[in-house]
Each structure stands twice: as C-alpha cells, then as structure tokens.
C-alpha cells in the first residue's frame, strides 16, 4: 500500500544541514490505522507530508498503491491526492465562505460528479460523521469538533484508499478529541481505509493498530497492538 525506502529529507546545506528524515524505510498495509508519534522535530509530520505528496524526499523511493509517486509531475501528484488520498489538517482548514456541505463536496465536484451525485454522497458522509443536520451551516457557526468532523467528511468524500491526519485533535478539548478519534477508528473499521495519523498525545495510543515512534528523523520503534496491548515486534 505505502512503501517507503531509505527516505531522506534534508534541509539546508553543509554545516547547517538538518536531517528531518534520516533514512526511513517503512511499509504500511491496507486497512491499518497507524499512529506516528514522537516529540516535536522528530520527523513525524515530514513523513506524513511525503505520504501526502505535499513534499518530495531529498532521496529515497516512495510508492503508494504500487505507483512510484516520485515519477509523477505536479499535475499528476494533484490528481493522485484528489483520487487516492484524504488529508485532515490540525486546524480543520475549511473554506469559511462555503457551507459544511459545500466544503465536503468540493473535491467530488473536481472529479466531475454532478450536483445531484455530490449532494447524495455528501449527505451520506455527513450522516456518517453525525452532521447531516448541520450541512447548511458555515464553519464559523460550528464548534471546533464539528469543523474537524466536516474536514474528515471532506477527506472521505472521494473514497480515498488512504487518510492522512496531521494532529487532528491538536485544537480540540479532550471530549471532542475522543469523539474524533472514535469516529476515525469507526471509519477505519467500517470503510477499511488505511489511516495514518500523526499525534504527540500519549493517550491516543490506544486507538491505533500500530504505533511508529520517531526520533531525530528515524524510526525508533514500530509496534503492532490490539486493544492497547502489543501483539508482535516489528
């Protein structure tokens, strides 16, 4: 599904060189719910950016769904993101002038769906995230938790094979964070999508099937778990 090999991301040159990723090799299988954890500057967000095709590695190879994404041009990468990836940002990143429904169906419009199809799919997804009644509200009229659920719905609308979530609970209180994590977990189980989520909150660990700990641009540990208990060493 996702296969990264010897991934390096180096900023700067010579003595001021910063190795955000220092030879990371990782393989993620279909349907996994993975937590990428670590301290600030450990390289977890950089890794997510590479998976999300928002950045290119300095060296190394990355293939997603069997496609060597390093070979794609900018337009190809945009199309890839649209069709195969769903991205959830820390600060929701909704368009304030669009209603919840419009924010959600924007990516499906780009794929050429008719307004009726968009509306139907959007209705289904907003029902899934529990916001059907709020579909005509603007982001400014919604709570942080509700906005993040809209953002998750937007990430799901094109039925991508991978959802990438960059600290989606960072701006939420504990209760809303719990709701969001449970929603993501449920979506992972019901829709079978691969989910890679960056987090630095220790209590999030129990929701993940697999936890990758990063430090100084390297993978420190990579453990599978079930119900919060380790299952096998990797």
């Amino acid at each position: 599904m996702i296969k990264g090999r010897d991934l390096f991301k180096i900023y700067g040159k010579g003595t001021v060189e910063v190795r955000a990723l220092d030879g990371v090799s990782v393989q993620i299988d279909r349907g996994e719910f993975i937590g990428v954890m670590g301290a600030s500057g450990s390289g977890k967000s950089t890794l997510l950016h590479l998976f999300g095709l928002l950045d290119r590695p300095t060296s190394g190879s990355l293939s997603i769904d069997g496609i060597d994404v390093g070979m794609l041009d900018e337009r190809g990468r945009t199309l890839f993101r649209l069709q195969r990836l769903g991205y959830v940002f820390q600060d929701y990143a909704l368009v304030p002038e669009l209603t919840a429904e419009e924010n959600v169906y924007l990516p499906s419009m780009v794929r050429g769906m008719t307004s009726r199809e968009c509306s139907r799919v959007c209705g289904e997804i907003l029902t899934l995230v529990g916001l059907r009644d709020r579909r005509h509200h603007f982001p400014g009229e919604m709570s942080g938790g509700e906005q993040q659920r809209v953002a998750i719905a937007r990430a799901l609308v094109n039925k991508p094979s991978i959802i990438l979530a960059d600290e989606p609970c960072a701006n939420l209180d504990t209760q809303n964070s719990r709701n969001i994590l449970e929603l993501i977990k449920r979506l992972n189980k019901e829709l079978g999508q691969t989910i890679v989520m960056v987090s630095h909150e220790e209590w999030h660990k129990k929701y993940f099937d697999r936890i990758i700990y990063m430090s100084d641009g390297k993978i420190l540990t990579d453990d599978h778990q079930e119900n919060g208990h380790l299952t096998e060493p990797v």
Partner: protein, 400 residues
C-alpha cells in the same frame, strides 16, 4: 461548462457572494469610474469635432468649394457657371466669392485681414454668417460703401483683450479706410459686426462682390464658389456629379479644405485622451491587481490547503479570474449607467466651448474599445496575482 471551469465558477461565486461586500462595492465603483473616464473625454472630443465640422460647413465653406482651374487666378464666366451649378440635382445653392488682401485703418490703427467680397443674397443661401450679426445689419446686394467686420477684427478698446491685431474696438456706424492690393483706398461705413464663435470667420471683413469688382475693374469672375448641397456626408458623390455635369474647375469638399486644421485639433486632443486612457487603465490594473492580490495573500493558507486536497492550481487561478471578470462586468455595467446619466445631462445642458455648445457624442467603437481594454486589464489583473500565489509550494502556503 467543463468540470474545471464549473468548480472554479462555483468557488468564485461563493467567495463573491459571501466575501466582503464593502470591498467588492468599492472596487466595482472604481472600475465604473475608469470606464466612464475611458469614454467621457473621447465623447467630448467627438462632440467638439462635430461642432467644428458643422461650423466649417455653416460659416466657412458650405459643402463643396469650387476653385479656379490650374494656372488660373479666377473662375471665369462665373455667372453662367453658377447658374449651371444651381440647376444640378442635389445642389441647394451656390455663392461666388472673391478673397482679397487689404489694409484696413481706423484712427491710426491698421490691420490686414482677409477681405471677402460676396453676393449677400447668394451667401445667405449657402452660409449662416448673416445669422450671427451681433450689432448693426448684414450686407445688402446694393451696398457699395458698407462693410461688415468680424468681432475679433473689430477688437476691443483695451488692446490686451484682443486675440489678433484689431481696429481697437470699432463699432457700427464708424468708418474705416480700406486700401486694396492695387493701391486704391476707399472709405467704408461699418454696417454690422459678426460674432459666429468661429475664429476664422470673426477675423475677416466682408463687402459686396459688386463693390470689389468696381475697385479691381473686373467682372463675372470669382476666386471661389461655395456650394450648399441637400445632404451632408455625400460630398464625394456630389463632386462626381458636378464633374459629370461639366464643371471643370477644381472641386474640394469641406473636409479637404479644413483637413489640416481639423487634424491638428484632433491630434492634440488625441494625445490628451491617450494619456488619460493610459492612466485610467493603469488605475484599473492596479486596483483589480491589489484587490485580487490581497485576497490571494489573505487566503494563502487556504489556497495551499485546496491544493493539498487535490484542487488543481489552474482551478484556483480560474476562480480568481472569474472574480476579476465579475468585477469587470459589474464595473462596466455601473459605469455604463453612470455614463448614460452624465451624457444625458450634458446633452440637455451642453458644455460651452469657445466655438459654441458641445454635446458629447457616444461612438459605438469607443464603447467597445473601452470594454475590450477593461476586459483585458481585468484578465491580466486577475491572472497575475493568483498565478503568483498559487505558484508557491503547498507546505510554505499552508504554514503561512
């Protein structure tokens, strides 16, 4: 509509409908003003040209001017030629004239204006100078010791107010001495003063044709025959008709006679107009550019996120172009309404120019050119800032 354009239009329409209305209204207003400015001055210039053309026909040349054949000073057998011309279909009237140099003296003040010798009755059929008498009377056919002079030539008591060397403020009833090119000097009583608002007319003096013929000892001749035709605008065809009827003298249209003067006036106005238009268009570019640029910079992070979720850069650029086009469309529409109001007002209360009242003349080409210029400007001002902002890499944009 293609999918990309559909999404771009969707985004643009929502951003316009739910964005800052005050900024939008202000921008549209500025574009409206630019549109008015692009058309207003040229329409005034067109009005001046129309006024000048009409004055040229009514006070200087009529529609056609017949002049002596090559190597001849006078048109010979002018009475017969005039009779022939007057019978040609499409001709309303004709008026033979002499032009002569002369020195006019009044109480020691001397000047050398152009002296026209005319048949007053014929002249009334062709030109409207007789309607512009501001003091005294116009010439009569039997006048011999009478002269009519232009307002500029009559001058003012205070020399500083004169635009040409004048007679120092002479009035009707006073006498002037006129010395002709053959040395003959005669005394004339000023019968009337003309003020046509046409400088070239108001600088001249007029006596009867019979009087000049008696001074020069010639008859049945003329230096020009002015011809008034039934319609204005078909002078070329009328010239051909006159030639077909056997007129062998040189025939000029009023446009040809006034071409240099008209070209110099229009040329000067065109330069002013060009500068005005360039400034207006620069204002339009800058305003739309700034509005779109601030908009895109303000939404830099949002643009990065749109790109991150798979919205192609071209869609985002197109959405900003659509917004610029909306501003253009509303600005042009508002400008059009504003312009019509201004033009209606100025048609009812024309501007007073030295040559007379000027009403603006709206030219379709001018309007289309203004619309095309603003459209091009809007496209550029919508495209460049959105291209610049969307050119930024996604992570830099998202991080702000």
């Amino acid at each position: 509509m293609l999918d990309e354009e559909k999404v771009a239009f969707f985004l643009a329409s929502r951003l316009i409908a739910r964005g800052n209305k005050g900024t939008l209204a202000l921008t549209i207003m500025i574009i409206a003003m630019v549109f008015v400015n692009l058309i207003f001055l040229p329409s005034i210039i067109s009005g001046v040209v129309v006024l000048f053309n009409q004055q040229t026909i009514d006070y200087s040349y009529g529609n056609l001017v017949i002049e002596p054949r090559s190597n001849q000073i006078y048109i010979e057998n002018v009475d017969q030629l005039q009779q022939k011309i007057t019978r040609i279909p499409g001709v309303v009237a004709s008026s033979p004239r002499y032009t002569a140099g002369a020195t006019i003296v009044h109480k020691g003040k001397s000047t050398t204006p152009l002296l026209y010798a005319i048949n007053p009755d014929d002249e009334k059929q062709v030109l409207k100078i007789y309607t512009k008498i501001i003091s005294g009377d116009y010439l009569s056919p039997g006048d011999t010791d009478q002269i009519v002079i232009g307002y500029q030539l009559a001058g003012n008591k205070d020399e500083k107010a004169d635009r040409i060397p004048s007679l120092g403020g002479v009035d009707v009833g006073q006498t002037v001495d006129v010395t002709f090119s053959n040395g003959v000097t005669r005394q004339y009583r000023i019968k009337g003063i003309i003020n046509s608002n046409s400088f070239s007319v108001d600088s001249n003096a007029y006596i009867t044709k019979n009087e000049l013929e008696s001074v020069l000892g010639i008859s049945n001749r003329a230096r020009q025959i002015l011809v008034r035709t039934q319609t204005t605008g078909n002078e070329e065809a009328m010239r051909t008709t006159l030639m077909t009827y056997g007129v062998q003298e040189k025939i000029w249209t009023w446009e040809e006679k006034s071409a240099d003067f008209l070209a110099s006036i229009v040329g000067s106005f065109d330069i002013i107009n060009l500068i005005g238009n360039i400034v207006s268009l620069i204002i339009a570019v800058v305003v739309i550019f700034i509005v779109i640029f601030i908009n895109t910079v303000y939404r830099r992070k949002q643009i990065g996120i749109l790109k991150a979720i798979g919205i192609d850069r071209s869609i985002i650029i197109k959405s900003y172009i659509f917004q610029a086009l909306f501003i253009f469309f509303c600005g042009t529409l508002a400008g059009g309404v504003l312009l019509l109001l201004v033009l209606q007002y100025l048609t009812a209360s024309p501007l007073v120019f030295p040559g007379g009242p000027v009403a603006p003349v709206l030219d379709t080409f001018l309007v289309l050119r203004a619309i095309a210029s603003l459209l091009a400007v809007s496209l550029i001002a919508g495209y460049v800032p959105s291209w610049l902002t969307t050119n930024e890499d996604i992570l830099s944009a998202i991080r702000g």
